[in-house]
């Protein structure tokens, strides 16, 4: 699946996007795998108290997971996941 990074996450990962080869069943699995890869610098922008930080925008194929099942949202191969840390307004 494709994972795209914006704002501060681009600095943290050093990328705008990547092809994530591992199969991840849910958004939570994917985020945990990304935390393993990129460490605390990534985690602090996305995870709070072990759950998805309320102010983070995670889209799966354009749909905000906060209106789906949050970390429990299912993923399929070929999905596009977009992650925005809390930055925007105006």
């Amino acid at each position: 699946m494709k994972v795209q990074y914006f704002a501060t996450l681009r600095d943290v990962t050093g990328k705008k996007e990547e092809d994530w080869q591992e199969p991840e069943a849910t958004v939570g699995d994917l985020i945990r795998a990304l935390v393993t890869r990129y460490g605390h610098a990534f985690e602090r922008w996305v995870v709070k108290d072990g759950d998805l930080w309320d102010l983070v925008i995670v889209l799966v194929n354009g749909h905000d997971v906060r209106n789906l099942q949050r970390f429990g949202t299912k993923l399929a191969p070929g999905d596009t996941v977009v992650i925005f840390p809390p930055v925007g307004g105006g």
Partner: protein, 602 residues
Amino acid sequence: MNGWTGKILRVNLSTGKLSTEPLDPDSAKDYLGARGLGTKIMTDEVDPKVDPLSPKNKLIFAPGPLTGSYAPSAGRYTVVTKGALTGAIASSNSGGVWGPELKFAGYDALIIEGAAPKPVYLWIRNQKVEIRDASHIWGKTVPETSDAIRAETDDDAKIACIGPAGENRVLFAAIMNDLHRAAGRSGTGAVMGSKNLKAIAVVGSGAVTCADPKAFETAVMDAREKIQKHPVGGAGLRLYGTNVLTNILNEVGGYPTRNFQDGHFPTADKIGGETLAATLLQRPRGCFSCIISCGRVTKVTNKKYAGEGEGPEYETAWGFGGDCGVDNLDAVTKANYLCNEYGMDTISMAATIACAMELYERGFISRKDTGGVALEWGNAEAMVEATRLTGVGEGFGKKLALGSYRLAESYGHSELSMTVKKQEIPAYDARAIQGIGLNYATANCGAAHVRGYTISPEVLGVPMKVDKDTIEGKPALVILFQNLTAALDATGSCLFATFGIGADELAGMLSAVTGVAYTTDDFMKCGDRIYNLERQWNLAAGLTAKDDTLPIRLLNEPIKTGASKGMVSRLPEMLPTYYELRGWDGNGVPTPAKLGELSLTA
């Protein structure tokens, strides 16, 4: 008085009369200041049926009771008048440092009446006020005006002025202050130009006093901490500015593209906040008393579009960018600089060009009509040239100066103008985000995003996430945001303070600085009252429920690509509930019961 100065300055440009009068404590209590006080003055003194560009219209500059204090990010003022673009009440909000200076000079409001027989500027140094000849400054750009007036008054004078666009009555001309800040929307600059008023220079050496300094300090420190802890208010906006929204809106499929023909722009990243931060950004900047610093000091070195200044903000980057199909950030930034120099609202300028591009692409406007400017989608050069022509008032720029509604109407296709009440819709697609569409249709000043910024809950998830695609609960949500914003605007606070604080904290700071006790309910009621007063004024001006609508494209044409493909605005399903919850009848008229609740008269 505390917080307030207790004094209003009245200037009649027809007679040359200068006078001051006390601020009525009841008006202050019920309407706070800025947008609220301005609306009250308009209600008491201006016939809603006047021609906006006639001497009978008034132009009111009003900061709020928090303006000039150290309440965080509360240095704003509002310009209230009858909008030249809309014929509705206009209340354009601006930051910078000019508003606080007017408070330090000793005034809660400046009322400009009549029209001067020839170009003048106003020079205010505390109690000393002069109307001075401006014929040698007429025609100058905003930066040139600032230099010229400072040379004649004071190096440290704060200047609010119009550029050539306001002088030429471009219907979306802005009033600029501190070079880069704008009371942008609804054509306030054209009203100022119609009064032959070039600028207002202010030096203020006085004080804003505080009723309870200890309580105020506590409330302010608490508010500051909350904003600083909030990721958007505390770090995000300083790092990336508002333009960080480009990619967010694009990814959720609500980024209006090519005059709202679509909701997704494939190369949006090239003009987004991340790219801006990595290329043109010099440093962040803040308004008076601001702790957020969302301002972008930028510089373009590319010879073709060279310039420096502040911006572009999100709406500007969107308008000159995706709305015109352009993905060249240098060009977008140049268009932004031109708008600041000539004094024009970037949203309306850009959206008018986008409309003209669609008319051109469809063959309703020819290259002969445009004087050779090829208004093709994505043509960055043409977009910048169209902006410049409008600023200087030449060629096709004279037609663009009418705004998209009158422009499109003149070619027989007003349905291609993406406006509400003749004001151009900003950078969020109403088909992809249901609540913001309802806000556009019902905002009293015409289509505007900040009047009821439901993008916060619907897209960002602040203060909590709601589904952007549902209509349930949206009327109540829009009303809540509209009322809170009206009250917030009336204090002089910046909307971005709500990334951290809300009505509770604002009511607390307001009470401590003024010494007048406001509960959170009182505060929200002020907002509701201001909103209804604006509505009444508009109804008396001749607007009706028919004007609470959206362009047919947003109601009927589904978005073609991106995450919100297939969606349309469900405004007609939300509007009746909105009227009902507002306490208005089926025609959108406030009922006697509602008016009574707010101590308003019919």
